[in-house]
């Protein structure tokens, strides 16, 4: 990236995307040119096609191993968005076409891919229950169970929220759903790199994204329960690749890159998890030492994501002051009117605080000195911004946070 004002750029946006691991990139490069494995895996019967098919099968096993899944259930996609669409639309359209039900349970804090797919299903006649999280960001398992109906065909929840890092207890939810015919889909895009997953817990569908765990962009996977076979209505039609669920020539280099990245995750997942947990705690404590910092998502979290709001500053202005650090700002700010995050709004965070929220997400190559450098830069930028703002002056004069920002900000700020 372009360095800013001579300062060392520090990337802390791994929840948005990760760099490709050099070993994965090397494996991909071996699948492109004439001296590599460039064949079409569907071209059975000659060496080039067979070599490609072998590499695809190998990658399929590597990705399946992430979730202790049967490789036969892995369907390649273009990424988590396609996986989620195929899961959500595929299950519910299949069920509705056969009169087996039309009710879906999901949460207001889900990724836009899930929410938009559910909105499309509503236009097609489905009924969707959107669960509301607590102020800590968690969706209680009991809320899922309370929303179940006889005609519920799908429960779709994310393992780790992409904005707050808050965990959903997948294993416990799956156990409770075991007696209900509803299909359980888990969006594991943010969790695969760090958390143990096992579809044997009772997960019927699992969405994965390669570029969230040091694989290439443009490739993902949907695990579909293979025994007993779960049937979906495909989104696209064409050849018989991927059991007819996802036709089109397979991008061997992408799949091999994802497979290699998955294998690396399995080798180091526990070590990465504990190391990042320690670094994120260091970051969290350092930020909390600064006055007027609110943690968004105080429930149990994944080890790599920390979302905070800074009282007394405007998000866009603090973002500019922090240029050079790769962070996600909790608002869309490419125009004059900013929009607060739907996740934070669902948690009851006031718009003013949501617009001053930042997501720090650490990764495989984040070091302790990066965390300390970020803390130092945030402290400096925050102090300077607060010197300029009306809100901070009012806060220091004793105005309660709830009065500064309205609604339930006081509760959210704790």
């Amino acid at each position: 990236m372009k360095p800013s004002a001579g300062r060392r750029p520090i990337y802390m946006d791994h929840a948005a995307t990760t760099p490709v691991d050099p070993l994965a990139a090397q494996a991909m490069a071996g699948c492109l040119t004439a001296d590599g494995v460039f064949g079409n895996p569907a071209s059975a019967g000659h060496a080039w096609g067979d070599a490609a098919a072998f590499r695809v099968d190998s990658a399929r096993r590597q990705v399946a191993a992430l979730a202790n899944a049967d490789p036969a259930g892995v369907i390649w996609t273009s990424g988590a968005t396609e996986s989620i669409n195929l899961a959500v639309l595929g299950v519910v359209r299949f069920a509705m076409a056969r009169g087996r039900g039309r009710h879906v349970i999901t949460a207001r804090t889900e990724h836009s891919a899930t929410l938009a797919a559910c909105a499309q299903l509503e236009r097609e006649g489905a009924r969707v229950t959107y669960l509301v999280p607590g102020t800590d960001g968690a969706i209680p398992v009991q809320a899922v169970l309370d929303a179940l109906r006889d005609d519920t065909v799908l429960v779709s929840l994310m393992h780790v929220n992409n904005e707050t890092g808050v965990l959903h207890p997948v294993r416990e939810t799956a156990a409770h759903l075991a007696e209900h015919p509803a299909v359980f889909h888990v969006d594991a895009a943010q969790s695969a790199a760090f958390l143990s997953l096992d579809v044997g817990w009772g997960v019927d569908l699992l969405s994965l994204s390669s570029h969230k765990f040091y694989g290439p962009k443009g490739v993902g996977a949907l695990y579909v329960r293979h025994r007993p076979r779960l049937r979906l209505q495909p989104l696209m039609f064409g050849g018989d690749q991927e059991q007819g669920m996802r036709p089109g020539t397979l991008a061997v280099h992408q799949l091999v890159g994802m497979g290699e990245a998955a294998a690396l995750v399995l080798q180091r997942r526990d070590a990465d998890r504990w190391r990042l947990d320690g670094l994120t705690r260091r970051l969290e404590q350092g930020l909390l030492d600064l006055e007027g910092v609110v943690i968004n998502g105080r429930a149990e979290r994944a080890p790599h994501i920390l979302n905070v709001s800074f009282i007394g500053v405007h998000g866009e202005s603090l973002a500019l002051a922090l240029e050079g650090i790769g962070l996600s700002l909790g608002s869309a700010c490419t125009s004059a009117s900013a929009t607060a995050s739907h996740v934070l709004r669902a948690m009851g965070v006031a718009d003013g605080l949501a617009l001053a929220s930042f997501r720090f997400s650490l990764g495989r190559w984040t070091r302790e000195e990066d965390v300390d450098e970020v803390l130092a830069r945030v402290a400096t930028a925050l102090a300077e911004q607060r010197r300029r703002t009306t809100v901070w002056a009012d806060y220091r004069s004793g105005t309660p946070v709830a009065d500064l920002y309205g609604t339930d900000a006081g509760e959210a700020a704790g």
Binding site: E316, S317, L320, G330, T334, S335, T390, V391
Partner: protein, 129 residues
């Protein structure tokens, strides 16, 4: 969570300098204090101006809650209006600030709040005549 706005060089310069930033307070013979906007609007500005006996601006200070364009506009005012007569300063518009800072039309909203706060401050100072 999305990308960030691209700011002009002038906005960046004034954002970095932040001329006049800090608590507005009585600093001279005649002091006026103005305010406009609200946190719920996304922009809130408080401006203090100090005038000399002849009605010329000696100093302008500000605090605001706003985007970089808002902060840059306040800084630009603090660099531009000192030595202007009060009536001349009252004629400074949001459009003039936008031109000086090379800001697009959609950023006029926060600058209008800055303009309102400036006029309020100048009027407040005039009431002490």
């Amino acid at each position: 969570m999305t990308g960030r706005a691209a700011w002009s060089a002038e906005v960046r310069r004034h954002f970095r300098l932040a001329r006049g930033a800090g608590e507005p307070g009585p600093g001279g013979q005649r002091f006026g204090h103005g305010a406009a906007g609200a946190v719920s609007w996304g922009t809130q500005v408080r401006i203090g101006v100090t005038l000399d006996q002849a009605g010329h601006i000696v100093d302008l200070s500000w605090r605001c809650y706003g985007c970089p364009a808002t902060q840059a506009a306040c800084s630009w005012l603090a660099a531009t209006v000192p030595r202007m007569h009060r009536e001349q300063a009252a004629a400074v518009t949001a459009t003039a600030m936008a031109e000086a800072l090379a800001l697009p039309a959609e950023r006029l909203g926060p600058l209008i709040v800055v303009e309102d706060a400036l006029r309020d401050a100048l009027q407040s100072a005039g009431m002490n005549d």
